[in-house]
Amino acid sequence: MSRIDRPGDRAHTSTRHADDGTKWMDTVADLDDAGTDALLRGEASDAELTPLAHVVRRLRESVAAEALPPMSAALRAQIEAPLVVPLHARRVARRSLARAAVAAVAAAVALVGAGAAQNRLPSGLQDVVSSAVEIVGIEVPRSADRLTEDDDEVDGGSSDAPANDGEPGYEGTTPGGADPADPGTPGDKEPAVPATPPEGNGQSDPPGPPDSVPGNGVSPSGQENGGGSAGGNPAGKG
C-alpha cells in the first residue's frame, strides 16, 4: 500500500479534497518510493492512481509495440570489423611506445652527456661526442685529455685532481691542492695546477691563473690541456 494514512493534517487535507474531486493530489503527493515504483510498473495501488497506471501501461506497451529498428549497414560493418577495439589499443600502445622511446632517448642523451662532461666515455665515443657538441658551442674534453692526465699520474705528477674529483672534501684542500704532500717534480708540466682555484670545475674560467702563473699559458702541457677547457686545468675537467 503506497498511501500513507496519517492521523494528522494529511488525513484532514484528504477529506477536504475528497469533496472537490481532487483527492488524487494527496494520493500522488503521498506516494512513497515503493508506491511510485509500482505505479511506474503500471500497477495502481489506489483507485485515484488508476488513470496514471493506465498511461504508464500504455507507455510500456508502446515499447513492446516498437518495431526493432534494422541494424544499419554501417553498424553491421562496424561490429564485424574485427579490430575496432584492438585498433584503439594499438593506437594507445603506439603512443606509449613513442613516449617510452622519447624517454629512452632523453635518458641516453643525459647519460652520454654526463659521461662526456666527465670525460668518462670510451675514447672513440668521447671524441665523437666532443666533436658533435663543439658544433653547437659546447666544450667537452676529448679523450686525448684523459690520456694526458693518465700520463701525469704515471709520471708521478699532480694526481690530486682526478683523484679528488667530485669529492666533497676537495674544496677543503689548500689552495695548493695536495701539493704540500706531493713532492712533485721540478720538471712537471703542471706547475700551474696548484694556482688554479679548486672550484674550477671546467665550467668557470678563472681570470688569474692562465696569465698570472708563469709558464702556464704557453707550455706544451697548457696547449694539450687547454683546448679551451678552463685554462688547461685538469682538476677542473675532472
Binding site: 488513470p51 510500456r60 506497451e61 509495440a65 518495431a67 544499419s72 553498424l75
Partner: protein, 201 residues
C-alpha cells in the same frame, strides 16, 4: 553531489527488464568487449527497441537512424564500460539521451513526436477501464507534451527505459533528489491533465 555508477554498484543496485536475466546481459557485454559479433547483436536486440521508443517519445524524427547511431557509439565505447547490467542500461540511455539532445539542437526544432500506433490491447475491465485502455498514441503524445522536457525525460527513462531512480540520476547527470522531485511533478501533471480532460480527450 551526483550519483555515480560506482556508487550504484557499491549499493548493489541491480535490476533488469523483465524477460532476460541480467547475468545474460552482463555476459553479452563481456563477450562483445572481446569482439563477439553475436553478443553485440543480442545486446542490440535487447536494447534497440527501448532506445528507439525513448527517442520516438522524445520527438526524434529519424528514429531508426538515430537508434543505429546510438548503438554504434555504444559499440565504439564498449571497451571502456565497466559495471553490471543496470549500469550498462543506464550507460546506453545516457548515450541515447545525449544523442537525442544533440540531434534536437542540430535540427533546431521543438520535439515532434513521430506517429506510431500502439497496438491496442484486449480490454477485460469495466467501461472506465476500457476507455483508459483505449488511450491511443495521440492522446499519449498530448499527455507527454504537457510535461516539461525534464519531467518527460525522467518519466520516459523510468518507464520506457526501465531505469531506477539512481540510474536516471546518472543518465541525466542530476541528483537523485532532483529526479525524484521531477518524477513526482511529472506524475502530478499527468494526473491533472487526465483529471481535467479525461483519459481519451
Amino acid at each position: 553531489m551526483r550519483t555515480t555508477s560506482g556508487e550504484l554498484r557499491a549499493r548493489g543496485v541491480t535490476r533488469g527488464r523483465a524477460g532476460r536475466p541480467t547475468q545474460a546481459l552482463v555476459a553479452d557485454v563481456e563477450a562483445a568487449q572481446r569482439g563477439s559479433v553475436e553478443a553485440f547483436e543480442r545486446i542490440y536486440r535487447e536494447l534497440a527497441r527501448p532506445v528507439a521508443s525513448y527517442l520516438r517519445w522524445n520527438g526524434a524524427l529519424d528514429v531508426e537512424s538515430l537508434t543505429n547511431e546510438v548503438m554504434a557509439q555504444v559499440h565504439r565505447n564498449l571497451h571502456r564500460f565497466t559495471g553490471d547490467a543496470s549500469s550498462f542500461r543506464s550507460w546506453v540511455f545516457t548515450i541515447a539521451h545525449h544523442r537525442m539532445v544533440d540531434d534536437r539542437r542540430a535540427t533546431g526544432r521543438r520535439p515532434v513526436i513521430a506517429d506510431m500506433e500502439v497496438t491496442e490491447t484486449t480490454s477485460v475491465g469495466n467501461a472506465e477501464d476500457d476507455a483508459l485502455d483505449a488511450l491511443g498514441h495521440h492522446r499519449l503524445r498530448e499527455l507527454l507534451d504537457g510535461l516539461s522536457p525534464d519531467q518527460r525525460d525522467v518519466l520516459l527513462l523510468r518507464v520506457v527505459a526501465d531505469l531506477s531512480l539512481e540510474d536516471v540520476a546518472v543518465a541525466l547527470g542530476k541528483r537523485r533528489g532532483a529526479i525524484k522531485s521531477l518524477q513526482h511533478r511529472a506524475l502530478a501533471t499527468l494526473r491533472r491533465q487526465l483529471d481535467r480532460e479525461g483519459p481519451g480527450a
